[in-house]
C-alpha cells in the first residue's frame, strides 16, 4: 500500500480486519514478521517509534491527567529529541488550539474537559508536531453523533489546510466517504481494494468490498431470482438506487423505518431480505406486496468476486 504525500488514507474494515495492527506496525509499536515499511523513501523496519517521526492519536484520549491542556499539547515538543525553544512551543500551541477551538481551555486540567474537548486535545497533541505522517485510530468513535459530524469536517479542513499526510482507521463508512482521498479495504489482514471513495463505492471488486460502503448495506441476492445468471454470474448486488419499483418480482413489506429524510423499507423476496430506500411521504403497509427488479446491478461469481 502506498500512501501519497498529502493524502488522507482511510483503512476500512470490521473488527479484527487488521486496521489497528497496520497502524501500530507503521508507528513501530508492533514488530513486523515480514515485509518492509518505508517512510519518505527510508526503510524504517529497525527504527523505534520515536525515530520514525510519526504522531499517533488513539481511540481512548490518553491525555496526561495530571497536566493542563497546555502542558499536554507542549509535552511532545519538550521531548529531548525535538528540543523546541519555548517561544516556538507557545506559538505552536496557540495555532493548534485556535484551529481546534480549544483556546479557552488551555489552562484547564486535562480531566476538566468534556469528551469532545478531550479528543480535540488528543488530536492537538499530534498536530503540534510536524511528523511525516499522522496515524489516527478511530479518534471520533467514542463521541456522540453531533460532535462526530462537527469534528469530521474540522479534521478534513485541518488536513487539507496543512497538506498533512494522514492514515486514519475507522469502521464508520460515512467518515471514510467524506474524509478520505483514498480508502484501503482490509479483510482478515489483507488489503483487498485501494482507491478513491467513489471508486470503492461504484466499482467494488467483491461482495465483501461492496458491503463495506453504502447505507443501507448493498443487497446481495442469487442472480437466478431475477433470471440474471449467464456469463458465470451467481450473485447480484443491488444498492437502493439500483432497485426499480413498479415491475419485476413481488416482495412483501416486513418493516417500515422512518428516518426523517428517508424511509427504509425492509422487504422479503422468496425468503431473502432486501432493504431499500423510499420517499418518506408515501405510505407502505406492512404485509402488502410491491414489485421490484434490479436496475443495472453489480454481478459477482460464486466466490464473491466481481465479474461486471
Amino acid at each position: 500500500m502506498t500512501i501519497p504525500e498529502g493524502a488522507f488514507v482511510v483503512l476500512l474494515g470490521p473488527t479484527g480486519a487488521g486496521k489497528t495492527t497496520t497502524l501500530r506496525l507503521i508507528s513501530g509499536l508492533e514488530k513486523l514478521d515480514q515485509g518492509e515499511i518505508s517512510i519518505g523513501g527510508r526503510v524504517v523496519n529497525k527504527e523505534t517509534p520515536a525515530q520514525r517521526d510519526v504522531a499517533m492519536v488513539f481511540q481512548q484520549y490518553s491525555l496526561y491527567p495530571h497536566l493542563s491542556v497546555r502542558d499536554n499539547l507542549a509535552f511532545p515538543l519538550r521531548s529531548p529529541m525535538l528540543k523546541t525553544p519555548e517561544v516556538e512551543i507557545e506559538r505552536k500551541i496557540a495555532e493548534v488550539a485556535s484551529v481546534l477551538q480549544i483556546s479557552d481551555k488551555l489552562d484547564n486540567k486535562a480531566t476538566q474537559l468534556s469528551g469532545g474537548e478531550m479528543q480535540r486535545v488528543s488530536i492537538g497533541r499530534a498536530l503540534v508536531r510536524n511528523p511525516s505522517i499522522y496515524l489516527m485510530d478511530e479518534p471520533l468513535s467514542s463521541l456522540d453523533a453531533k460532535l462526530r459530524t462537527e469534528l469530521r469536517v474540522e479534521l478534513k479542513r485541518i488536513q487539507a489546510t496543512l497538506g498533512a499526510t494522514l492514515l486514519y482507521v475507522t469502521h464508520d463508512q460515512i467518515e471514510a466517504m467524506t474524509m478520505a482521498t483514498h480508502v484501503g479495504v482490509l479483510n482478515h489482514g489483507r488489503l483487498v481494494q485501494y482507491g478513491s471513495p467513489r471508486e470503492i463505492y461504484e466499482n467494488p471488486n467483491s461482495v465483501y468490498v461492496a458491503s463495506r460502503l453504502g447505507l443501507p448495506r448493498i443487497n446481495i441476492l442469487p442472480a437466478e431470482l431475477f433470471g440474471l445468471t449467464g456469463n458465470g454470474a451467481a450473485q447480484i448486488g443491488m444498492r437502493p438506487e439500483q432497485i426499480r419499483q413498479g415491475s419485476g418480482q413481488p416482495a412483501e413489506v416486513i418493516r417500515v423505518e422512518h428516518l426523517g429524510d428517508q424511509t427504509r423499507l425492509h422487504l422479503k423476496l422468496q425468503g431473502h431480505d432486501i432493504t431499500t430506500l423510499v420517499d418518506p411521504h408515501v405510505t407502505y403497509d406492512v404485509g402488502s406486496n410491491i414489485s421490484i427488479e434490479p436496475n443495472d446491478p453489480l454481478y459477482f461469481d460464486d466466490n464473491g468476486n466481481r465479474i461486471f
Binding site: 470490521p14 473488527t15 468513535s141 453531533k146 471513495p197 444498492r239 418493516r255 422512518h258 428516518l259 426523517g260
Partner: protein, 318 residues
C-alpha cells in the same frame, strides 16, 4: 422515576391504570436494562437470568422453562454456564436483556443499553433489540442521545431538553414538523438549516423576505415580528441556474448515492443534500430552491416554531 429508582417530588405515574409513583421498584412490574449491564459478577449467566424469578418465588420447573425460552429468543444457549466475566459486550447485554425479559413485566426501561458497545456492533444490536420488541410486543421506554437510534427504534419519540419535554410524537412527524429549534436541530443529520433574518409574519402570509428576496412558506397562522428563523432541511434544497436566492459552494462531501453541499448564503451557511449525479464544485455560485411546503419558521428568542398550516395539528398537542 418510572422504574422507582427515584421518587418524583410531584405528579403521578400510571402503569396499566394503577398509580405507582410512590411505590418501591420491587412493587412495580417494570424491568430495567442499563448501559453498563449491571450483571451479578459472582454468578454465571444462567444464575443471573433466573435470579429474579427465584426472588419472585417461582417453582423450579417453571423457572427452568422460562430460562430456556428466553435464552432461545436471545440466542445465548451456548453461554448459559459461563461466568459473566469473560463475555463480550454484546453477550453481556443479551444476558441483561434476558434477565429483564424473563420476568414478563408490564414494561421495560432501557437506559442507553447500546452505549457501552463498540460502535460497529451497536448497529447490529439495535436491529436485534427492535426485532425482539416486535416479537414480544413489550411496552418499552428507551433512553438514548443518539437521534438516529431514536428514529430507527421508536414508535414514538419524546425529545427532552433541560428537563422539559419539547415534543412528543411519531418520528416522521417530529422530523417534518418540529415544535422548537432544539428539536429541529437535534433530529436529522445534517440538522435542519437555520437562516436568520429580521422580519414580520402575519396570519395568512405565505411568504417571507430574506435579504430582499421573497421565499414561499406554508400559510402562517400567527402574528409575530422580530428576529425570525427560516428552517429548511438539507434534502428540501435544490439547485437551479436562475433563482433569485443564491449561495456560494464552500464544500462538497460525497456519500455514495447523495452528496452534502455546504453553501454560504446572505443569511448564513447551510447544508444541502442532493443526488451524487449532480456536478457541483467548490466555488460554484448557484440559485437555491427551498421546497415551500416543508418550511418551518421559528421565533429566535423563544425558539418556538411559528404556527402554520404545516404544523398546526402537531403543535396543538403541545
Amino acid at each position: 422515576m418510572i422504574a422507582g429508582l427515584e421518587l418524583p417530588t410531584s405528579g403521578e405515574i400510571y402503569l396499566d391504570g394503577e398509580e405507582i409513583s410512590q411505590r418501591p421498584p420491587s412493587q412495580r412490574d417494570i424491568a430495567c436494562v442499563f448501559q453498563m449491564f449491571a450483571l451479578n459478577p459472582h454468578m454465571n449467566v444462567r444464575k443471573n437470568i433466573l435470579y429474579p424469578l427465584v426472588s419472585l418465588g417461582m417453582r423450579r420447573a417453571d423457572i427452568k422453562a422460562k430460562v430456556a425460552e428466553v435464552s432461545n429468543i436471545l440466542g445465548i444457549n451456548d453461554i448459559l454456564d459461563r461466568p459473566t466475566g469473560g463475555l463480550s459486550g454484546g453477550d453481556r447485554q443479551r444476558v441483561a436483556l434476558a434477565r429483564a425479559i424473563v420476568r414478563d413485566p408490564k414494561a421495560f426501561m432501557m437506559d442507553e443499553p447500546l452505549g457501552a458497545l463498540d460502535a460497529e456492533f451497536r448497529e447490529h444490536m439495535s436491529e436485534e433489540l427492535r426485532a425482539l420488541h416486535d416479537r414480544m410486543k413489550a411496552t418499552t421506554v428507551y433512553v438514548t442521545h443518539d437521534q438516529l437510534e431514536a428514529m430507527q427504534m421508536g414508535d414514538k419519540i419524546v425529545v427532552m431538553n433541560n428537563a422539559v419535554v419539547e415534543q412528543f410524537g411519531e418520528p416522521q412527524e417530529i422530523y417534518d414538523k418540529p415544535a422548537t429549534m432544539f428539536v429541529a436541530d437535534f433530529i436529522g443529520s445534517p440538522s435542519m438549516n437555520f437562516l436568520r433574518f429580521e422580519g414580520a409574519v402575519q396570519k395568512g402570509d405565505n411568504s417571507v423576505t430574506l435579504s430582499g428576496i421573497r421565499l414561499a412558506v406554508p400559510k402562517q397562522l400567527q402574528d409575530l415580528q422580530g428576529d425570525l428563523v427560516f428552517g429548511v432541511r438539507p434534502e428540501q434544497i435544490s439547485f437551479t441556474d436562475d433563482g433569485a436566492y443564491r449561495g456560494l459552494v464552500l464544500a462538497v462531501e460525497y456519500l455514495g448515492t447523495t452528496q452534502i453541499v455546504t453553501l454560504e448564503t446572505p443569511n448564513g451557511d447551510l447544508k444541502a443534500r442532493v443526488n451524487s449525479s449532480q456536478v457541483i464544485n467548490v466555488g460554484d455560485r448557484v440559485g437555491l430552491n427551498f421546497n415551500p411546503a416543508t418550511i418551518t419558521l421559528f421565533h429566535e428568542q423563544s425558539g418556538r416554531a411559528i404556527v402554520s398550516e404545516l404544523n398546526s395539528g402537531v403543535l396543538a398537542n403541545g
